[in-house]
């Protein structure tokens, strides 16, 4: 626990790309936790300054370029079908947290998803040099506020975090803890498939032990599938 709370929110900048329901919801919680928060939408920061002043007072509307260069952790909260508008150069080497999900109704058809274990791999293929983690996608934006609890609260909700980068994983785990949730290490980025839309983790709400056992159950069934698919000699 101490290890994942290593960073100090007061000296850590969270940069959010996307000023929608999720982006502004994450911003509010991050501000409560004491982080400095920058937020950008696709256009001129002036276009969203009013949105930010009402929806997440205390956050600073900035350009996407400034958000990416200044942030210690960049949070991706744009509609998934706009992932190609993310700037690979701006995100190279940065710690990045992907909160996005695929919703056919609003995202349209995305055939490239068929080739990715989780939508985060598809995103990662576009920003290959980003140090990518996945989390916060399996909690509703209203619940971010309603379900947050101080550490140790008996009804504290757990959220999973995955990443292939140990440092990014630690930073993201600490961030999720600070927002008011038990952060559970879900292992490699591809394990994010365990908490995408339609999965038990996505549709349910779990405490730490419950979430860990769901992650294990998913890993076991994924391993089983792989075994079943491997050629018989």
């Amino acid at each position: 626990m101490n290890q994942i709370l290593q960073h100090d929110p007061a000296t850590t900048t969270i940069g959010i790309l996307g000023a929608g329901k999720v982006g502004t919801g994450v911003a509010r919680q991050a501000l409560k936790a004491g982080y400095r928060v920058l937020i950008a939408a696709s256009g001129d920061p002036k276009d969203i300054s009013l949105i930010i002043s009402v929806m997440a007072p205390g956050a600073v509307a900035a350009s996407a370029a400034d958000v990416m260069s200044e942030a210690d952790l960049v949070v991706l909260s744009v509609p998934l079908h706009k992932f190609r508008t993310l700037d690979p150069a701006g995100l190279a080497g940065k710690h990045v947290l992907d909160t996005m999900n695929y919703w056919r109704d609003t995202n349209g058809d995305m055939p490239e998803l068929d080739e990715a274990p989780s939508s985060s791999e598809m995103v990662h293929a576009h920003i290959p040099e980003a140090r990518l983690a996945k989390s916060l996608n399996h909690i509703g934006y209203h619940e971010l506020e309603l379900d947050a609890r101080p550490a140790g609260a008996p009804d504290r909700r757990a959220l999973a975090v995955t990443s292939d980068d140990a440092e990014t994983l630690a930073l993201a785990l600490g961030f999720v803890e600070r927002l008011g949730f038990d952060a559970v290490d879900g292992g490699r980025l591809s394990n994010g498939a365990a908490f995408e839309p339609g999965t038990p983790i996505f549709t349910g709400s779990y405490d730490q032990a419950g979430l860990q056992s769901e992650l294990l159950a998913h890993a076991a069934s994924a391993a089983g599938e792989e075994l079943a698919l491997s050629p018989v000699h």
Binding site: K21, R104, G108
Partner: protein, 352 residues
């Protein structure tokens, strides 16, 4: 403050009794509700469209026209018109006609709809989800604007043929259609409605009554900034609920549960249960089921957060029986409305 009811003409098999209801019977039910809502002094009767088996209404305007013909004072409106898969010119003509039929009581609420069945039906591409809506809402408002100025319109867009110096007939009463934009609470939607200078109605479908307070603030601030008179623009709330002298929460639960079970399976969100239901029927939750006093208090609490001008309830989720819906409409008009009016008068006096 305006109060009203809205429906999609649910024809679900009754999840409690197993009883079935025909589309024909449901249409008669809807008109009976409209007459009662008018009789008890409610302000708004809304009909929304779905294009799926559990609902009798995909075509809003004929139902509203029949309701208008059988009522005297109540406003009749769409809740909502899925504009993305409509031709705004035809929508304008239909609602202008409804407005003439009803003596100026017609309203149009435009939205994107919460289901997507109408997209393939009418040849719309989901990949154009945002662009379709953006273009069509702008055209609809431009048509209303041209109507108000009694001028022809010249317009060019991507999703329908261009209009070249065209005048659209008929014009509504006083040349003006009352248009609202419906939203589920994306900040950009509040901003869009504010910049366009239309009324806005928020679908408060669960959660807490305080959830949308910021959105209403944002709408008013943005409208002000865009140069509109923010006080002249209305804010509404649509929600689910049922009013009864006793047992409203018990009566409503299996129907709410049935509908939410289906939605949660389809959309992959948390399965509803009695605990989540009880949280939302509690005083701060956003299901408006209870006694007249409880529902009045909850609408007033919502008003503290939102400062809204209109509150409308969907009472017939998954085919709540007609007798319960009728009783609920009656109580909304005869008991909830006077309670709210009296409290608001007191607040006005205290503030004066």
């Amino acid at each position: 403050m305006e109060l009203g009811v809205y429906s999609f003409g649910d024809v679900h098999r009754n999840p409690v009794t197993g009883a079935e209801v025909s589309g024909q019977q449901r249409m008669a039910d809807l008109l009976e509700r409209a007459r009662l809502a008018d009789d008890v002094g409610l302000d708004y009767f809304g009909i929304g469209e779905h294009h799926r088996a559990d609902f009798a209404v995909s075509s809003i305007v004929p139902v509203l026209a029949a309701a208008a013909a059988q009522t005297r004072n109540i406003k009749v409106g769409s809740a909502v018109t899925v504009l993305s898969t409509e031709d705004p010119v035809r929508v304008y003509q239909q609602f202008a006609t409804l407005d003439l039929l009803s003596g100026g009581r017609a309203e149009l609420t435009a939205g994107r709809g919460s289901f997507i069945e109408s997209y393939p039906l009418f040849g719309a591409d989901l990949n154009d989800y945002e662009a379709l809506y953006e273009e069509k809402i702008q055209l609809l408002l431009a048509l209303n604007d041209a109507g108000r100025r009694e001028e022809p319109i010249t317009w060019r867009g991507k999703f329908r043929p261009a209009l070249d110096d065209a005048t659209i007939y008929p014009r509504p009463v006083d040349n003006n259609l009352d248009i609202w934009i419906a939203t589920g609470g994306t900040p950009a939607s509040s901003v869009r409605a504010a910049r366009l200078g239309t009324n806005v109605i928020y679908a408060l479908l669960g959660g807490a009554v305080s959830n949308f307070a910021r959105h209403a603030q944002l709408f008013r601030a943005e409208a002000e900034q865009a140069g509109h008179d923010a006080n002249a623009l209305k804010v509404g709330v649509s929600a689910v609920g049922l009013v009864a002298k006793s047992g409203a929460q018990e009566t409503f639960y299996p129907y709410w549960r049935h509908l939410m079970d289906g939605l949660s399976r389809e959309r992959g969100f948390s399965q509803p249960n009695r605990i989540s239901y009880d949280m939302q029927t509690a005083p701060k939750g956003a299901i408006y089921a209870g006694t007249p006093e409880q529902v009045a208090e909850k609408i007033l609490l919502t008003r503290e957060h939102m400062g809204h001008d209109r509150h409308i309830l969907q009472m017939d989720l998954a085919s709540v029986p007609q007798k319960d819906v009728l009783k609920s409409i009656e109580l909304l008009g005869t008991e909830v409305k006077p309670l709210i009016d009296a409290e608001l008068r007191n607040q006005e006096k205290a503030a004066a």
